[in-house]
């Protein structure tokens, strides 16, 4: 049994009386401890897929099973790091992390929560910024705070959007790896991080192809990008990515 199974997921939106299909018959599965990237051009339904995984939206048809159980609403079994606005702007970095801890661990006292928050902020290298508000932090720092919060909540599956996580995720190889669904439109990032890449196409959002990433771990970005295998693999992916667009537009005069 796979950790996450996505079965024939279809999502329709109704907007001003117009129906449109954001996702159509999307199916793939993710093994325990696997790092899967979902890539595709904008409008391919990546965010919709993510919102269903998070439990914010419900599908029109089909289902997602986690450990064989269908998803029902949001849950603390899934840690989520949004691309934007994931932090509460009125809380300092450590309060944001502590607030997350409070939701999963109601018994911890305020000082305990703050102590755990400080530990995790230190792990992502932000010990000097713990009393800053999100508006005082750069975008990358905000993401790291969000990651610290997801890590501190000690949940099982992570949907994440940050390259920094490679290091955190691969770790020293002694502890069990978390299952990750990573949504991006950056091919290099996807190759570097993933065990498997799910490529999607737009209108309606469908799975175009599933590709295993053949490189050994731990990976080193600087070394990897210089190898011929990497470049061949990347070109193959790019060709797929754009062949989809070209076939959609239907002409050969498309400038990319």
């Amino acid at each position: 049994m796979s950790k996450i199974e996505i079965n024939n997921l279809t999502v329709d939106y109704t907007e001003k009386k117009n129906r449109f299909t954001a996702l159509k018959n999307v199916s793939f599965s993710i093994e325990d401890g696997e790092f899967v990237s979902v890539i595709g051009s904008s409008g391919c339904g990546k965010s919709t897929l993510l919102s269903i995984l998070e439990g914010i939206n419900t599908p029109t048809a089909g289902e997602i099973l986690i450990n064989g159980e269908p998803i029902r609403g949001t849950g603390t079994d899934r840690g989520v790091v949004f691309q934007h606005y994931s932090l509460f702007p009125w809380m300092t970095a450590r309060k944001n992390v502590a607030f997350g801890i409070k939701q999963v661990n109601k018994d911890a006292s305020r000082t305990e929560r703050l102590k755990i928050a400080d530990e995790f902020l230190e792990k992502v290298g932000l010990e000097g910024f713990k009393n800053k508000y999100p508006s005082q932090l750069s975008g990358g720092m905000q993401q790291r705070v969000a990651i610290a919060r997801a890590l501190a909540m000690d949940t099982d599956i992570r949907t994440i959007l940050q390259e920094l996580l490679l290091e955190l995720w691969e770790g020293d190889g002694t502890s069990a790896r978390k299952t990750v669904v990573f949504v991006t439109h950056d091919i290099d990032e996807a190759i570097l991080l993933s065990d498997k890449i799910v490529m999607m196409t737009a209108n309606p959002g469908q799975v175009y192809s599933e590709i295993k990433v053949p490189f050994d771990r731990p990976r080193n970005r600087a070394e990897l990008v210089q190898t011929q295998e990497y470049n061949q693999f990347r070109n193959k992916l790019l060709a797929m990515f754009y062949s989809d667009i070209v076939s959609k537009i239907g002409g050969d005069e498309v400038v990319l």
Binding site: E54, T74, T76, R78, F82, Y85, L87, P89, F99, Q103
Partner: protein, 306 residues
């Protein structure tokens, strides 16, 4: 800042001019209490020198010094036009010394009236703000209720609260309770409207971020939605505060037996324009101080916004 920038300012010249004109002979009969002007000016000058020595930003010092210059300039013109050349009707325009003397003489009465007015404002305002924020949070959380409540509060809020005074007098036992009631109404509607508009416009991403953390309903309301709509709430609170002062002083002039509005109305009816001016100055100071405190609170609670 250099010594020159700190201390060589026009304001000190104005201070000396203000002292020197006190030496001119009085044209006005009776005591003009010039010594009170001198004491006041010396006090302000000492404060100015202290601020000049310690302030760090040149822009801040210039602003402070310009305000003090305005006060000195006003006192110079006022002294010359009244006590020294008697250009205006003495009954309507008392010299500044007399106003300061009266202010100090009426000290106890004024404090009592300040407490009376500020007490009414605080009571009506805080009750209204608390009720409106809680109700606004609850109503705003439901789209349907929020929409209908927005229109109803627009209608009820559009009625100038002062027209409730006659009805309030018939309805309530004391004039004080009428004042509290009117201030309550003046504050309640704008704060309710601000809160609901804030709650209904909270970024969906903020709500979603909270949802994926699995926060409970009460935490969602008070730890997420409330702070996220705080800026809009403050817009309503600001509006309520401004209207409250106007209303209270008007109400006090209609029928109260205490308060700053009553103080002014009472003494102008008796033809005592020195005390009328004292009342005007005190009301100005009280409102400036309350607005200052209010702005500090607002700035503190919204400190996370840049």
């Amino acid at each position: 800042m250099t010594f020159k920038k700190r201390y060589l300012r026009l304001v000190h010249l104005l201070f000396i001019v203000l002292l020197l004109i006190q030496l001119l002979p009085d044209k006005l009969s009776g005591d003009t209490y010039a010594q009170y002007v001198v004491w006041f000016a010396v006090g302000v000058e000492i404060l100015t020198l202290i601020v000049s020595s310690f302030i760090k930003k040149p822009i801040g010092l210039t602003l402070f010094v310009d305000i003090v210059s305005f006060i000195y300039g006003l006192l110079i013109a006022w002294t010359l036009a009244t006590a020294k050349f008697n250009l205006l009707k003495p009954a309507l325009f008392p010299p500044p010394g007399r106003v300061f003397w009266q202010l100090i003489g009426d000290y106890e009465k004024i404090i009592t009236n300040i407490f009376s007015s500020v007490g009414i404002i605080l009571q009506g305002y805080l009750l209204a703000a608390a009720a409106a924020i809680i109700l606004g949070l609850l109503l705003g959380s439901s789209e349907r209720l929020g929409n209908v409540a927005t229109y109803i509060s627009k209608f009820l809020g559009a009625i100038p609260p002062i027209v409730y005074i006659p009805y309030g007098i018939a309805l309530l036992p004391t004039f004080r309770s009428v004042s509290v009631f009117v201030i309550f109404l003046a504050t309640f509607w704008p704060v309710l409207a601000g809160t609901m508009s804030g709650v209904m416009n909270v970024d969906k991403k903020t709500i979603d971020s909270a949802k994926v953390l699995n926060v409970g309903k009460i935490t969602m309301l008070f730890s997420v939605i409330l702070p996220a709509s705080l800026q809009q709430i403050f817009i309503g609170c600001n509006q309520g505060l401004t209207v409250s002062f106007v209303l209270l002083t008007s109400a006090e002039m209609i029928g109260a037996q205490s308060g700053l509005g009553y103080y002014i109305k009472n003494y102008s009816d008796l033809g005592d324009y020195t005390r009328t001016l004292v009342g005007l100055i005190v009301i100005g100071i009280v409102i400036v101080v309350i607005s200052f405190v209010f702005n500090k609170i607002q700035k503190y609670l919204l400190r996370w916004k840049h």
